[in-house]
């Protein structure tokens, strides 16, 4: 059996925070910190920045908790704040650098092609795995912030279309369309790079 604190639902803690009890935010923090860390890491991909960004997200959530109206789950509401915060961060980061898919190294390209072949054949070697991971990371890093957000929510965070729609405040059909476009753009850029080689 869990401790009494873990048995109290989120809604109760939220009400207490809304009434000015700051300490009631701690259980909410404990309960949702992993979710926020995972989302931040997948979106930003910088281990050294995750804690700072997560702190800022929770501070924003605390300050805005009076506006939380219990319509979406607290997790979804918090994810929305996290996504918006990371989106702004990515926009700032991307403004600061100019990089394109075709800047990916030749070696990396060979690795991902070899890895794709191995995928159809069976298991990957450790080396192929690390190279493929690195390449996928680069592809994602070069995607526009909006594409990256939706791709991360679907491919890395494994959210359903409906969950993504709730987080991004979009209709499920819009999410499907944006997801397809983001994937397509990613592949087009990848292809463009191969043609330039």
């Amino acid at each position: 059996m869990g401790s009494p604190e873990t048995e109290i639902p989120d809604s109760e803690w939220i009400r207490r925070v809304q009434q000015g009890e700051q300490e009631a935010f701690e259980p909410l923090l404990e309960r949702h910190q992993r979710r926020v860390f995972s989302l931040v890491y997948h979106l930003v991909r910088r281990r050294d920045e995750v804690e700072d960004i997560a702190q800022e997200i929770f501070i924003k959530a605390f300050r805005g908790i009076r506006s939380y109206n219990f319509q979406a789950s607290f997790g979804t509401w918090l994810s929305r704040i996290a996504v918006n915060h990371c989106y702004d961060y990515l926009r700032r980061e991307q403004k600061a650098k100019l990089s394109y898919y075709w800047q990916i190294g030749e070696e990396g390209s060979r690795a991902i092609e070899g890895q794709a072949q191995s995928t159809s054949e069976g298991a990957l070697s450790l080396e192929q795995e690390s190279e493929a991971r690195e390449l996928a990371e680069k592809l994602l890093a070069r995607a526009p912030a909006q594409d990256r957000t939706i791709l991360v929510l679907k491919e890395l965070e494994d959210h359903s279309v409906e969950e993504i729609a709730a987080i991004l405040r979009l209709r499920p059909n819009t999410v499907k369309v944006r997801l397809h476009r983001a994937r397509k753009r990613m592949l087009e850029d990848w292809k463009r790079w191969r043609q330039k080689r």
Partner: protein
């Protein structure tokens, strides 16, 4: 089905599995077959990224956030206090100014200082020159007696 719809289906193959229609289309359409291969490559990389361990919150993360909240609350409180103090001073200053204005209006403009000040602020209106203004001239000035003619001087009569 159009190629675009097949491509959307290709992207979802992980969850659904390749349908017979899609397999048939991939056999006929080289562009869609290439799209499928490329997506397979990218997805394999993304799957590896998803499986990567995520950084765990360090011990005491929640406490650190709460401390930051307390700190920012105290900064906010001191800022509010400062603003309140400044606001209060502003109110006092405005009240004093209003009082001074009221006093200026109410008190009679007597005494050497007030008289001098009011003389500077409201200088006396210049005397209206009535000499040649027919509207302001009284009867005596408007119709001055004509100068007696030399003959009248003699007779003592005044011609009109």
């Amino acid at each position: 089905m159009r190629c675009e719809e097949f491509r959307e289906a290709i992207e979802e193959t992980r969850s659904r599995g390749v349908s017979a229609a899609l397999r048939e289309h991939l056999g006929r359409c080289a562009a869609c077959a290439e799209y499928a291969r490329d997506w397979q490559m990218v997805r394999a990389g993304l799957n590896l990224l998803a499986a990567e361990p995520v950084p765990e919150p360090m011990l005491g993360f929640a406490r650190r956030v709460l401390r930051r909240l307390e700190e920012s609350a105290s900064v906010l409180a001191s800022r509010e206090e400062l603003l309140e103090r400044a606001g209060r001073r502003m109110v006092y200053a405005t009240s004093l100014l209003v009082l001074a204005l009221v006093l200026m209006l109410v008190l009679p403009t007597t005494g050497p200082v007030r008289a001098q000040a009011s003389a500077e602020l409201f200088p006396a209106e210049p005397a209206v020159v009535v000499e040649n203004n027919p509207l302001l001239l009284d009867d005596s000035t408007a119709n001055p007696p004509l100068a007696p003619s030399p003959s009248a001087e003699k007779t003592g009569k005044v011609t009109q």
